[in-house]
Amino acid sequence: MAVEIQREKYRSKVGEVVLGATKEQGGSRSHTITVGGESTLPFLHFEGDMPNRPVVALEILDMVPEEWHPCLEKYYGDVYADPADWAKKCVDEYGADLVQIRLSSADPDLKDSSPEDCAATVKKVLEAVGVPLIVIGCGKAEKDNLIYPVVAEAAAGENLLLGVAELENYKAITSACMAHQHNVIAQSPIDINICKQLNILIAEMSTAMAGRIIIDPTIAALGYGIEYTYSIMERARNGALQGDKMLAMPMIGNIGYETWRTKEANTPADEAPGWGEQEARGILWEATTAMAYLQSGMDILVMRHPRAAALVKQNIDELMQDNSY
């Protein structure tokens, strides 16, 4: 008996965003990465297209991390001190599709590095690796607003993904991206209306920027509200497919950062014998978080543990297999 296959008819699709630029395009990347473009829900190849596979970025800092779990030292300990070496290791040894550098040292409470120092670091990382780069600020808006224009100018032509724009603070970063043709991460606090509103505000500054937005819905780790973000993302993606242009952007999430703040990833086995061995638990805490976000439509997964990243890349490979009827 032939079963009638259920195929949804969607009106629209997610926009595509290209990250990075090759020499011919005015940058120095060995290749570009295109994200988005889905015309169906995640991995339902039987009813629509998913022209670009979701990608895994590994995150690095521009300083030796103060609070990363010691289990990560055996992977990154030898390169913590040099962001360029660190980025290279992420790409060459751990297969990162792209690298995200967080300019932590600029934090006035940490090293208070100058915008020029930050730009120099970004340049060094660009020289060290050929993959497209994600650059995010230190998280202190006042300082970040000084950094964006300098970094954007120093990396002009490289078509960075720069973050983050927030509802209360989106103009400086958007202007910097407009002036030097970079892409912007628009972050909203687990709220679909603010997400839309922010995208509209950025698009109002420049219609060209509307096609250069990556949504960061603000993710939570497994066990810490993941289901809220999961549902917000499902709603946003359904909205995009039904024709809401201001939700039709690819999505990004800082999975490593959120996961490795949790008790479950960090607590040693002797302090929580009921939870089993720590490193494998942390790896799976991160990979399971990523798995769930792949199912709710994430396009760029920013991860930390190399083994978790490998597990997720494997999962993406499998899910990208055609499943048409």
Partner: protein
């Protein structure tokens, strides 16, 4: 999709007698359609109409139970494709696979201990699947008996030879295990066995078409306690098939697919298995079977299940009370926040990160977050002061200082007045707590 109000209305007496409590038959039909009323309220509905309406009102996915007593597992009876449309009701059964070629008793004993406590919740691995890999009836029976002796949790017996399965089932039939699986080759004997013992039966096709055909044959034999397996084993294909089964059942009321589903991982590496199982758990499997059996492997999966199956409309709350983080004493700092569990656990995590033993007063805001509770007047100076008194803070610490969230700095004045304590305005985001603590309490 059930019947619309108008379709139901056609079957009603149309007398507008009001005895059901609704002003008109049409209003009653509308209430029926939205699930707010049941047909029993109408004293005059004909048997014919009842039959027509009952079959249309049957749940799109049948509720099937495996196991008995405290360890019974309810599967299916889902109504949504997305949890944000309402909620998912019956958490996916997570089953650990034990082969009859290994040390079944030892593995079952280890399985029985797979229970976890985190954030005040208790997670359980609920099913054990025993598989006949040996092809030897006596061996399989011995393994099933050994497992049954070590755990009281629900069971799945995996064996496609009806005679071998029948032998092993003798020992555990009263536990109502799920029998896996009826196929095109063995279904008549399998149905006979399942019927005789009153056990649920898994049905496996080579693909969706064969599965639907097989289900219809089994239903024609008079058995409906079924669990579906499309036969797919590749991650992407399983995702597609589970999505088709769920959509057909809910959107189209396609009866052959109106049953719970089962999915199997197909990986050597247990970490890969967990990620694959996570995909199936996210997208509609009612049971997922895997070999991974270590605590660090199952805790993430069970946590995801717990998160996914929560009711999105109901804020999750922690018990409002005074919590101790670390080895507190009478000089320890005191923080206060709401009893929305997310807020509380994030604050708790950051207070822990500060490495300064502290108290956290979780104020009863009905489980809503700081700003929402403030806007709703559920997190005010008066309410916090009252909670401080009830928690007996006076007798716990001698410093009379309390930290409030930065977002509600405006409460400082009233809280100081109400409590007589000094109020410190903390950071706006919990992430700022370690630094705040270092500056104020170190």
């Amino acid at each position: 999709m059930g019947l619309t109000g108008l379709e139901i209305f056609k079957h009603l007496p149309k007398t507008n007698c009001k005895e059901c409590g609704a002003p008109t038959c049409l209003a009653f039909a509308m209430s029926l359609a939205s699930g707010k009323a049941t047909l029993d309220a109408c004293p005059y509905v004909t048997d014919e109409a009842r039959a027509a309406l009952d079959s249309a009102a049957a749940p799109p996915i049948k509720l099937v139970k495996i196991g008995t007593g405290d360890h019974q597992l309810e599967l299916g009876d889902e109504t949504e494709l997305f949890r944000h449309d309402k909620r998912f009701f019956h958490p996916t059964g997570v089953a650990v696979l034990i082969s009859d070629t290994g040390d079944a008793a030892a593995e079952a004993a280890a399985f029985d201990e797979l229970e976890f406590d985190r954030v005040g919740l208790h997670y359980v691995t609920d099913v054990v699947a025993v598989k006949c890999d040996s092809g030897d009836g006596a061996k399989f029976k011995a393994a099933v008996e050994a497992v049954a002796a070590k755990t009281a949790k629900a069971m799945i017996l995996i064996c496609e030879d009806p005679a071998v399965l029948a032998g092993a089932l003798e020992a555990v039939a009263d536990r109502k295990p799920l029998l896996y699986a009826a196929t095109a080759d063995n279904y008549e004997k399998m149905v006979e066995l399942a019927k005789a013992k009153g056990c649920p039966l898994a049905v496996r096709g080579k693909n969706l078409d064969e599965l639907a055909e097989l289900v219809e044959k089994i239903v024609a034999l008079g058995y409906k306690e079924l669990v579906l397996d499309s036969g797919a084993r590749d991650t992407s294909k399983v995702l597609a098939d589970l999505t088709q089964i769920r959509r057909s059942a809910i959107r189209k009321r396609f009866r052959p697919f109106g049953y719970p589903t089962i999915a199997f991982t197909g990986k050597e590496d247990p970490l890969e298995e967990v990620v694959q199982a996570g995909v199936y758990l996210s997208k509609y499997a009612s049971i997922v079977v895997l070999r991974a059996a270590k605590k660090e492997q199952l805790l993430p999966l069970l946590s995801w299940r717990q998160n996914l199956f929560t009711d999105p409309q109901k804020p999750i709350a922690v018990e409002p009370k005074l919590y101790e983080v670390g080895d507190v004493n009478e000089d320890s700092p005191v923080y206060c926040t709401t009893n929305f569990s997310l807020t509380y656990f994030i604050v708790e995590g950051e207070v822990e990160n500060s490495r300064i033993p502290s108290y956290i007063l979780s104020v009863d805001t009905g489980g809503i977050s700081v700003l929402t509770a403030y806007a709703d007047n559920k997190f005010s100076g008066e309410i916090i002061a009252k909670a401080m008194k009830e928690a007996g803070l006076e007798s716990k610490v001698k410093h009379k200082k309390i930290v409030i969230p930065g977002h509600v700095a405006v409460l400082k004045g009233t809280l100081e007045e109400e409590s007589g304590w000094e109020v410190l305005v903390g950071p706006r985001e919990a992430a700022g707590i370690p630094k705040f603590a270092k500056e104020n309490f170190a």
